[in-house]
C-alpha cells in the first residue's frame, strides 16, 4: 500500500517536472515595433506565423507590442537606459535612425557582430549592402535591416501628362510647373528636415554633419557650411518657393490622393497604400528623388527601420536571433514588400517571383529599389545626439527663410548657430 502511494507520488512528480520543463522550454520574447495599419497588421501576421511554425519547433513565443511612433519608442528606450531599467527592455526592437546612438551605447545591446560571432554558421550575405551599411555605427553592425525604404518622388501623372510635362528630375523642373498651381491645387509641398536635407546635401557631395554624418563618431559640427553645399541647396529651395511651385507646409498624403497636390516626396514604402487609396482616380507616377540641380548627382539615403536585439541571457539571445533571422528572411521580406511597398532587404527576396510579379503589375515599385542600388555609398543617413531638437530646428529655420524672406547667407548663419550650438552642447554633456 505504501509502496503504491510512493510510486504514484513519483509519477506525479515526474509529470509535474515534465510539464514544467515543457513550459520552461517555451521562451517568451518581447518584440517592440512601430508599425500600424497595413504594415502593423502584417507584422502581427508574421509573428503569429513564427509562433506557430519555427517558434513551436524551437520553443519560442514572440509577443509583439506596438509602441507608437519610432520617436515614442526611442524615448521609452532612452528612459529605460537612462534609469538602468535594463530588464524592462524588449528582446527585439524595431529601431529607426533616431535610436542608433542610444542603442549603440546601451549596456546590454546585442549587436549583429556579436550575434554573428555566436552563430558563425549563419550567412548574412543575402542582405542588401546599402541597407546593411545604413545600420552601422562606428564600424559596428547594430541591427539587420527590416523595413527598407528610400525617399522617392510621387507625382500625379495624369495631371502632368495633361500639361505636357515629363516626370520632374530636378527642383528646377518642379519650379517650371508653377503655372499648374491654381484653383486650390498646389504643385509641391514640403519642409526639409534632417533626412531629406541630408539627401540633398549628399547629392551635392557633402555631409550634413561631420564624422561622416555621425556614423563614424559623435558629430560635433555642421559639415556643409564651408563647402557651400548648404548655401547651394538653400538657394535652389528659395527659388523653388519664389516660383510659386512650393508651398511651405509639410506635404499631405490626403491632399495628394485627393488630387489637390501634384507632387509629393515621401517614403517608397507608401507605394502600396497610395495605389490603394488613389484607386483609379489618376495614374500614380514614381520618380527618383529630385536632384538639387542638374550638376548634382541623383539618389537618396536609405531609411526605414532595422531590428536590434538586447541581451537578456543566452537563451533569450538565441531566441531573439532566430526571430530576427526569420523576419529578415527572403519569404517574409518578399511578402512584406508586396503588402506595403517597403523594399525587400534580402537579395533573394528581390530576385523572387513574388517581387517580379509585383513589379510587372505595378512598375512603380521598382523605382525605389533601383534608386537604392544606384545611390553612391558615400551618402549616409544622419545620426546626431539631440535628434528631435535638430530635426525641428532644420524645419523651422528653413521655413523662416522662406516666410521672412531672409537671404541665403543669413539663413546659413542662423542654421550654423542653432544646429552647431545643439551639437556643441551635446558634446559638452557627453564627452
Amino acid at each position: 500500500m505504501f509502496k503504491r502511494m510512493l510510486a504514484l507520488l513519483l509519477v506525479l512528480l515526474m509529470m509535474a517536472g515534465l510539464t514544467a520543463c515543457a513550459q520552461a522550454e517555451s521562451r517568451k520574447i518581447v518584440f517592440w515595433h512601430s508599425m500600424s495599419e497595413e504594415a502593423g497588421a502584417l507584422i502581427e501576421d508574421y509573428v503569429k506565423e513564427f509562433n506557430e511554425t519555427v517558434g513551436l519547433e524551437q520553443g519560442i513565443q514572440v509577443e509583439a507590442v506596438f509602441q507608437g511612433t519610432y520617436a515614442e519608442a526611442v524615448t521609452k528606450m532612452n528612459g529605460m537606459l537612462a534609469n538602468r531599467q535594463l530588464d524592462s527592455l524588449p528582446d527585439v526592437m524595431q529601431l529607426d535612425a533616431t535610436g542608433k546612438v542610444s542603442f549603440a551605447a546601451a549596456e546590454n545591446a546585442y549587436t549583429i557582430d556579436a550575434a554573428a560571432a555566436d552563430h558563425p554558421e549563419d550567412d548574412l550575405s543575402g542582405l542588401l549592402a546599402p541597407a546593411m551599411a545604413n545600420w552601422q555605427l562606428a564600424g559596428a553592425q547594430l541591427g539587420l535591416p527590416f523595413a527598407t525604404s528610400t525617399t522617392v518622388t510621387y507625382y500625379n501623372k495624369t495631371a502632368l501628362d495633361a500639361a505636357n510635362a515629363a516626370a520632374p528630375v530636378t527642383l528646377q523642373d518642379i519650379a517650371a510647373l508653377a503655372s499648374l498651381a491654381k484653383d486650390g491645387v498646389t504643385v509641391y509641398a514640403a519642409v526639409p528636415n534632417t533626412p531629406t536635407l541630408a539627401n540633398w546635401l549628399g547629392q551635392l557631395g557633402s555631409d550634413l554633419v561631420n564624422f561622416h554624418n555621425g556614423t563614424e563618431g559623435t558629430a560635433t559640427a555642421l559639415d556643409c557650411v564651408e563647402n557651400g553645399a548648404l548655401a547651394e541647396f538653400l538657394q535652389a529651395w528659395k527659388e523653388l518657393y519664389t516660383s510659386g511651385a512650393l508651398v511651405n507646409t509639410s506635404g499631405s498624403t490626403d491632399e495628394f490622393v485627393a488630387g489637390r497636390q501634384l507632387i509629393m516626396t515621401s517614403s517608397s514604402s507608401s507605394v502600396a497604400s497610395l495605389l490603394a487609396r488613389i484607386g483609379g482616380a489618376f495614374e500614380l507616377g514614381v520618380a527618383a528623388y529630385p536632384q538639387v540641380n542638374s550638376t548634382a548627382s541623383a539618389g537618396a539615403t536609405v531609411s526605414g527601420s532595422c531590428l536590434v536585439m538586447f541581451d537578456h541571457g543566452t537563451e533569450a539571445k538565441d531566441a531573439a536571433w532566430t526571430f530576427v533571422r526569420y523576419m529578415t528572411g527572403a519569404e517574409v521580406q518578399a511578402d512584406f514588400a508586396r503588402g506595403t511597398g517597403y523594399l525587400p532587404s534580402n537579395a533573394a527576396a528581390a530576385a523572387s517571383d513574388v517581387w517580379a510579379q509585383l513589379v510587372a503589375e505595378h512598375p512603380q515599385y521598382q523605382v525605389g529599389l533601383d534608386q537604392l542600388m544606384a545611390t553612391p555609398d558615400t551618402m549616409r543617413s544622419v545620426t546626431v545626439g539631440p535628434s528631435a531638437d535638430f530635426y525641428y530646428a532644420i524645419m523651422n529655420d528653413v521655413s523662416d527663410m522662406l516666410e521672412e524672406d531672409l537671404s541665403v547667407e543669413e539663413t546659413v548663419d542662423m542654421m550654423q548657430d542653432d544646429l552647431g550650438g545643439m551639437l556643441e552642447q551635446y558634446v559638452r554633456a557627453n564627452p
Binding site: 537612462a82 545626439g385 535638430f390 550650438g421
Partner: protein, 293 residues
C-alpha cells in the same frame, strides 16, 4: 466659522504627525525632492543617460537664453495664458450668471454646458484637428473662411486657444453656477429694491460675492495655461515655424526627447518661477478685491 477647541487630547502626542505622514511622504518624495533635483540638474552637465557628469554653473541657463526657441516659447506661453484666462473667465462667468436663475429647461442646458468636462483631452484635440482642416474642415466651410488653422503660423495659436478655452468651459462653468446660486437671495432682493437693474446687480453684488471662486478659477486656469503641452504635442509639434512652441513643450522635445536633461531642468525652473510670480500677483489682487464672508 467656529473655533475648534484643540486640546492636545488624550493619547500619544505623536498622533497628528502620524496622520500627516502619508501626505508629507508624497509631498517630499514627489514634489520637493524632484524640485531640488531639478535645481541641481539645471546647474550640472547631465549626459544622455540622465547621469550628472559635472558642474555647469549657469552655463545651461546661458545656453537656454541664447536659444531662439526659448524667447519664442516664453512669448507663446504668455500669449496663451493672457488670452486664455480672461476669455475663459468671461465666458464661464457669463454662462454661470445666465444659468443661475432656475428655469424649466434649466437641467437640459446646464448639463449641455457642463458636458465638455467629461471629454478627454486627446479625443477633443483630434476632433478639432478634423474640424479645423484647412481644405476640408467644416469650420472653414461653414464660416466661409480660408484659414490655415494648425498649418499656418499666424493662426495655429488661435486654433490652440480655441481648443483650450473649449476644454476649460465645462468644470469652471459648474463652479460659477454653484457660486452664483450660493449668493444669498436677500442680498439680491435688497439691490433690486433699491432699483438696481440686472447689470448693476451683477457688477456690484454678485461678482464681489463670488470673488473667491473667481480667484480660484483664475489661478487654476493660469497654471494650466502656463503648462499647456498636450494639444501641442498631438496637433502641431510646436509649429508651424515655432508658433505654438510653449515652455513645457520645449522642455519635452528639446530636453527629454533630445536627451538634454539639463536643458529640461532649466526650462522647468524658468516655468516654475514665472508661474509662481503670477500666482503671487493674483493673490496680491486677492487682498484688495476678494471678499470673504
Amino acid at each position: 466659522m467656529q473655533r475648534i477647541d484643540r486640546r492636545p487630547g488624550a493619547g500619544a502626542p505623536w498622533r497628528p504627525y502620524l496622520y500627516l505622514l502619508p501626505m508629507l511622504v508624497f509631498a517630499v518624495g514627489f514634489v520637493y525632492y524632484p524640485f531640488l533635483k531639478t535645481i541641481v540638474q539645471s546647474v550640472s552637465t547631465v549626459n544622455f543617460r540622465g547621469e550628472i557628469t559635472g558642474c555647469a554653473g549657469l552655463e545651461n541657463f546661458r545656453y537656454l537664453f541664447s536659444r531662439r526657441e526659448f524667447g519664442i516659447a516664453i512669448r507663446n506661453t504668455l500669449k496663451l495664458m493672457l488670452i486664455n484666462v480672461p476669455v475663459t473667465l468671461f465666458i464661464t462667468i457669463l454662462l454661470g450668471w445666465f444659468s443661475s436663475k432656475r428655469r424649466p429647461l434649466g437641467p437640459v442646458y446646464e448639463t449641455m454646458l457642463a458636458l465638455p468636462m467629461t471629454v478627454s483631452m486627446s479625443s477633443i484635440t483630434l476632433i478639432f484637428k478634423v474640424l479645423l482642416n484647412p481644405s476640408v474642415g467644416y469650420v472653414n466651410y461653414a464660416l466661409g473662411l480660408r484659414l490655415g488653422w494648425y498649418t499656418d503660423r499666424h493662426t495655429a495659436m488661435a486654433g490652440i486657444l480655441l481648443l483650450t478655452v473649449w476644454m476649460g468651459i465645462g468644470f469652471n462653468y459648474l463652479l460659477f453656477l454653484s457660486a452664483f446660486r450660493a449668493v444669498p437671495q436677500d442680498l439680491i432682493g435688497c439691490a433690486q429694491l433699491e432699483g438696481a437693474g440686472a447689470l448693476r446687480t451683477l457688477l456690484y453684488v454678485q461678482l464681489p460675492m463670488i470673488s473667491p471662486t473667481i480667484l480660484y478659477v483664475a489661478c487654476t486656469n493660469m497654471i494650466q495655461a502656463m503648462m499647456t503641452s498636450g494639444p501641442i504635442l498631438i496637433l502641431t509639434q510646436g509649429g508651424p515655424s515655432r508658433s505654438t512652441t510653449t515652455l513645457i513643450y520645449l522642455m519635452y522635445t528639446s530636453g527629454y526627447s533630445s536627451s538634454n536633461y539639463s536643458l529640461a531642468a532649466a526650462v522647468s525652473l524658468v516655468t516654475f518661477a514665472m508661474t509662481l510670480t503670477f500666482t503671487a500677483l493674483l493673490f496680491a489682487l486677492e487682498r484688495k478685491r476678494v471678499h470673504y464672508q
